[in-house]
Symmetry: C2
Subunit: 212 residues, 2 copies
């Protein structure tokens, strides 16, 4: 049986039910911890499921900032200092990572409360999550208002990348499966992954190959 | 051993190698087909790995439009007609879906060339991909310029949702695993998923529960 839920029915759904449904609809989401530090030295770590690719050249990554979320400590620190880190959540630390979503006070350090170690690399101002395999240092590049729902698209320029050398393919891509990176659906469900195939570049009227 | 690749080194990478590396860095991506139809009736179907959640109330989904991609047929049709569909790619059709990335001419119909059936639901103008389980009808709500790299964030408002009734949890969320929805890493690698856990709402100083 097939469900068809229309615009008016979506509007009438209970808030939390609607949030859960609509958050499922874009498909699987990335699972990242964003690390920041305020000007007066308070570290912050927060989970985001909205981190996404913006462009490769220049190398840009973005995330969606909601107006009323706990994540605002992250946003405040980024605006104040310009620097943040993105760290891939993996199968060994997704529960600790989920716990960073709790509404800790600004002077409570999620690294300590959630059992993740802060790590400083190359004198970069913002802290990394030591237990993550893939770590990215970013500098704020732009904040774009999304007026439709009072959110913001926050875009960072990649300053450096830190990852284990045995997870990179010859073509440059990183093997997220080897890094045990997880995916999220909705707001609270975590998944490991099985590689189905790496496919060749698609051309009209030519059969695809499985590269791996 | 750990790799550290900095800003200047990223700039010097060969273009395709850099694209593959940087496209891995945001984590797993959603895998969706966007269906459109031009004013003169030409159907188009194209794979996107940049579809992401913008907000639940109002219910909004966005994707990133590149200036020079084949996906511009999709964008042209959306600007022209205002309507598009988002369809979850699954383990049974990810190869056909990948093939839609080939640079077909505007008068070549990807539905036909890639063996995916166009389906019309509820008199909605844009076609759905019949072989997908989760299907969303959207109306263009905004196009936001990202000046940093000349891309656009295209945002649609959800008009209706169509999905099998046995994949919805009591809390409203859809079980993407039951729908066989796949995830993408980089530009060309497809994954099925294993549920690790659905976790309880995080609160400070309270231990998380696994709901499932």
């Amino acid at each position: 049986m097939s469900m068809l839920v229309n615009y008016d029915e979506i509007l009438k759904l209970e808030n939390r039910f609607r949030a859960n449904l609509i958050n499922s609809l874009s498909g699987f989401k990335s699972a990242n911890l964003i690390g920041t530090k305020s000007n007066n030295g308070l570290e912050n770590l927060a989970i985001f499921n909205s981190v996404h690719h913006i462009g490769a050249n220049p190398a840009l990554i973005g995330f969606i900032q909601r107006p009323d979320s706990v994540e605002r400590h992250t946003f405040e620190n980024i605006i104040e200092t310009k620097y943040f880190t993105i760290n891939h959540i993996n199968v060994s630390n997704f529960e600790q990572a989920h716990q960073t979503a709790a509404r800790y006070k600004k002077n409570e350090n999620e690294f300590e409360h959630c059992n993740i170690n802060a790590e400083y690399v190359n004198d970069f101002y913002a802290p990394f999550a030591k237990q993550c395999e893939i770590k990215i240092a970013l500098e704020l590049a732009d904040v774009i208002d999304i007026k439709l729902n009072n959110t913001k698209l926050v875009i960072g320029k990649i300053k450096f990348i830190n990852y284990p050398n045995n997870i990179q393919h010859e073509d440059g891509s990183l093997d997220l499966n080897k890094a045990s990176t997880v995916a999220i659906s909705g707001l609270d469900t975590y998944y490991s992954t099985n590689k189905l195939a790496k496919l060749s570049y698609a051309k009209p009227h030519i059969k695809l190959n499985k590269i791996e």
